[in-house]
C-alpha cells in the first residue's frame, strides 16, 4: 500500500496548436480526497481523462495503482478502468437504457461477468436507494431532471465499489440545496468505501467542505496545492484571488478580452 493511487509526472498534452497541459506533476495517496480547481479551459477535465487512459498524453508518465497506463492498448486498460469510477461532466448516461440498467451496466460488464443476476439487482437497488432514486428504476434517462441525472451518474460511478472515483463537476448547474445534498452523499460514500477521490468543481466553497486538499491549475500546470480548509487564506496570491473572486490581483482570468472588460467597467 505504499505506492500512491495516482502518480502523474511531467505530463504534456496539446490538441493541435492549443496547449492544454504543460508539464503537470501530481501525486495522490490512497484514501485521500483531492479537489481540482482552476479557470475555465485550464485542462481539469483533460487531466481526469488522462488518468483513465481515455486520452493519451503527448509526453510524460501516468501511473494508476502502480500500473503505467501511457501507451497501453485499449483492451489492456479494461481491468484497470473497472477499478475506477467516473462521473462525467455532462452525465454521459446511456440514453438507450433505463436508470436501473445504467447503474447495472458496470456490474454486468465488469469483473469478468461473474456476478449473478440476483446479486446485480440487489446491489443496484441498494445504490439507487442510497442516492434517493428508488422508484425511478424504469425511467429512461431523458425523463430525468439535471439533479436526478447527476445522482444516476454518481450511482453508476460508485456501484462497483471503485477504488478511485473521479467526479467532474458534481454540482454544476444545480441549486445550492441540491449541491449540498450531492456533496453529503459523496462524503458518506467515501467514508463507507475508503476510496481515493479526485473531484473537479467551480464551486470552491462546497468543494472545500468535501475534500482534504485542493490543487490549483493555472497556465497549464499545478501552481498551488494545499489543505482545503484554509484555501481562502492560501499563501499564493493567485489562488486567494480566484477563490475569493476579487477583481484586483495577478490573475489574468480570460486573457486580453477580460482586461478590456475590466477597463470598461471602470
Amino acid at each position: 500500500m505504499t505506492e500512491p493511487a495516482i502518480r502523474i509526472s511531467e505530463v504534456h498534452k496539446a490538441y493541435g496548436s492549443r496547449r492544454v497541459l504543460d508539464g503537470i506533476s501530481l501525486d495522490l495517496a490512497r484514501g485521500t480526497k483531492l479537489g481540482l480547481i482552476g479557470p475555465a479551459a485550464s485542462g481539469k477535465s483533460v487531466l481526469c481523462k488522462l488518468v483513465c487512459g481515455l486520452e493519451q498524453p503527448d509526453r510524460g508518465e501516468i501511473e494508476v495503482f502502480g500500473e503505467r497506463i501511457v501507451g497501453k492498448r485499449e483492451v489492456d486498460l479494461g481491468p484497470l478502468r473497472r477499478r475506477i469510477g467516473m462521473l462525467f461532466q455532462n452525465y454521459a448516461l446511456f440514453d438507450f437504457l433505463t436508470v436501473e440498467q445504467n447503474v447495472a451496466f458496470p456490474l454486468e460488464q465488469g469483473a469478468a461477468g461473474t456476478l449473478s443476476a440476483e446479486t446485480i439487482a440487489e446491489r443496484v437497488a441498494a445504490r439507487l436507494r442510497a442516492v434517493g432514486l428508488a422508484g425511478s428504476e424504469a425511467k429512461l434517462t431523458a425523463e430525468l431532471s439535471g439533479g436526478m441525472k447527476k445522482r444516476v451518474g454518481i450511482a453508476r460511478a460508485t456501484v462497483a465499489d471503485a477504488e478511485l472515483v473521479i467526479y467532474d463537476e458534481p454540482s454544476a448547474g444545480l441549486d445550492p440545496v441540491t449541491t449540498q445534498k450531492i456533496y453529503d452523499l459523496l462524503s458518506a460514500d467515501q467514508a463507507r468505501t475508503g476510496a481515493t477521490v479526485l473531484a473537479i468543481s467551480s464551486d470552491v466553497a462546497a468543494l472545500a467542505g468535501f475534500v482534504d486538499e485542493i490543487a490549483f491549475l493555472y497556465d497549464h500546470r499545478v501552481v498551488y496545492r494545499g489543505p482545503a480548509a484554509t484555501i481562502a487564506d492560501a499563501p499564493n496570491a493567485l489562488v486567494r484571488q480566484f477563490v475569493r473572486g476579487d477583481l484586483e490581483g495577478p490573475l489574468d482570468q480570460a486573457g486580453p478580452g477580460m482586461a478590456s472588460l475590466d477597463r470598461s467597467i471602470k
Partner: protein, 278 residues
C-alpha cells in the same frame, strides 16, 4: 502556390490517415465478431449470463431496427424503380423493334446480377448508414462512448459488431425482397402499359447459378461496408450537435460511394472471370 500545395498535401495526408483508421475499425470489428463467437463457447452454463443476454437482445434490436423498419422504405423505392425501368426499357424497345418478349427475362437477369442488390444497398446506405452514424455520433459527443470504455467495454465490440452482423443478415433478406418487388412491379407495368403477357414476362429460364453467386457476393460486400463506414464516421464525430450532423452526412456519402465502387469492382471482376459470358 506553396500554400496550395501544402493544403493539397495535408488533405491527402488526412485522407490516408482516415483510410488507415477505417481499416483498423474493420479489422477490430472482425476480431470482435470472432471474440463474440469464442466467448459464447466458453461461457456456456456459468457466469456472464447477464452480459450475454444483453448482447443477444442488442443483436435482436439491431436486426429489427435495420431490417424490419426498412421494409416499407425498400418496397416503395424499389417498387417505383422497377416500374420506371421496365417502362423506359419497353418505351425504347417499342421505338426500335416492338418486340417485348425478352424484356422480362433480361430485366430479371439485370435485377439479380446488379440492380436488386445495388439499389437496395444504396437505399440502405441512406437509411441505415445515416441512422448508425447519428446514433453512434451522438453517443460520442455526449461522452457515452467514454462511459462505455470506463466499464472496460470496447466500443467497437459493443456498438459496431451487432450492427455489422445485423446489416450482413438483413442486407441479404432485403435484397431478396427488393429484387422480388422490383420484378413484380416491372411485370405489372409491362402488362398494363404495354400489354405484355405475364407468362412471357416472368420467364426464369435465363437465370444461371453464376448470377445467384454474384447476387450473394454483392449483398455480403455491401452489408459489410455500410455499417463499417457509418460506424467509423460516427466514432469520429467531434464537438456537439454540429459534429453529429457532419458525421451523419459523411456516413451517407461514404457508404453510398462505397456501394458504387464495390459494385464496379465486383461487376468488372465477374465480367472478367466469366469472359463476358454472364
Amino acid at each position: 502556390m506553396s500554400n496550395r500545395i501544402e493544403a493539397l498535401g495535408s488533405a491527402a495526408l488526412s485522407l490516408v490517415r482516415a483510410g488507415v483508421e477505417l481499416w483498423r475499425v474493420y479489422v477490430s470489428t472482425i476480431a470482435g465478431v470472432m471474440r463474440g463467437f469464442s466467448r459464447r463457447k466458453d461461457r456456456r452454463g456459468h457466469g456472464g449470463r447477464a452480459r450475454q443476454s444483453r448482447a443477444q437482445s442488442e443483436l435482436v434490436r439491431q436486426l429489427h431496427a435495420i431490417g424490419n423498419k426498412s421494409i416499407v422504405f425498400i418496397v416503395i423505392t424499389l417498387g417505383a424503380l422497377g416500374m420506371v425501368m421496365t417502362y423506359q426499357a419497353c418505351l425504347q424497345l417499342g421505338r426500335v423493334t416492338g418486340d417485348y418478349s425478352q424484356v422480362g427475362s433480361q430485366l430479371l437477369r439485370l435485377i439479380i446480377s446488379d440492380f436488386g442488390p445495388t439499389l437496395t444497398a444504396m437505399m440502405l446506405a441512406t437509411r441505415v448508414g445515416a441512422g448508425i452514424a447519428a446514433e453512434i455520433g451522438s453517443m460520442k459527443v455526449t461522452e457515452q462512448i467514454d462511459a462505455l470504455r470506463m466499464s472496460g467495454v470496447l466500443p467497437i465490440d459493443y456498438l459496431i459488431v451487432p450492427r455489422f452482423i445485423a446489416c450482413l443478415v438483413m442486407m441479404l433478406m432485403l435484397a431478396v425482397l427488393g429484387s422480388a418487388v422490383m420484378y413484380a412491379a416491372g411485370g405489372l407495368t409491362a402488362k398494363y402499359s404495354f400489354g405484355v403477357n405475364p407468362n412471357t414476362f416472368f420467364d426464369l429460364s435465363f437465370i444461371r447459378p453464376r448470377h445467384l453467386v454474384l447476387f450473394v457476393v454483392k449483398c455480403l460486400a455491401y452489408g459489410a461496408a455500410i455499417p463499417i463506414v457509418a460506424g467509423f464516421c460516427g466514432l469520429r464525430a467531434r464537438g456537439s450537435s454540429e459534429g453529429v450532423g457532419w458525421a451523419t452526412t459523411a456516413a451517407v456519402i461514404g457508404s453510398s460511394f462505397a456501394v458504387i465502387v464495390l459494385d464496379f469492382i465486383l461487376s468488372a471482376s465477374a465480367l472478367w472471370l466469366t469472359g463476358g459470358d454472364l
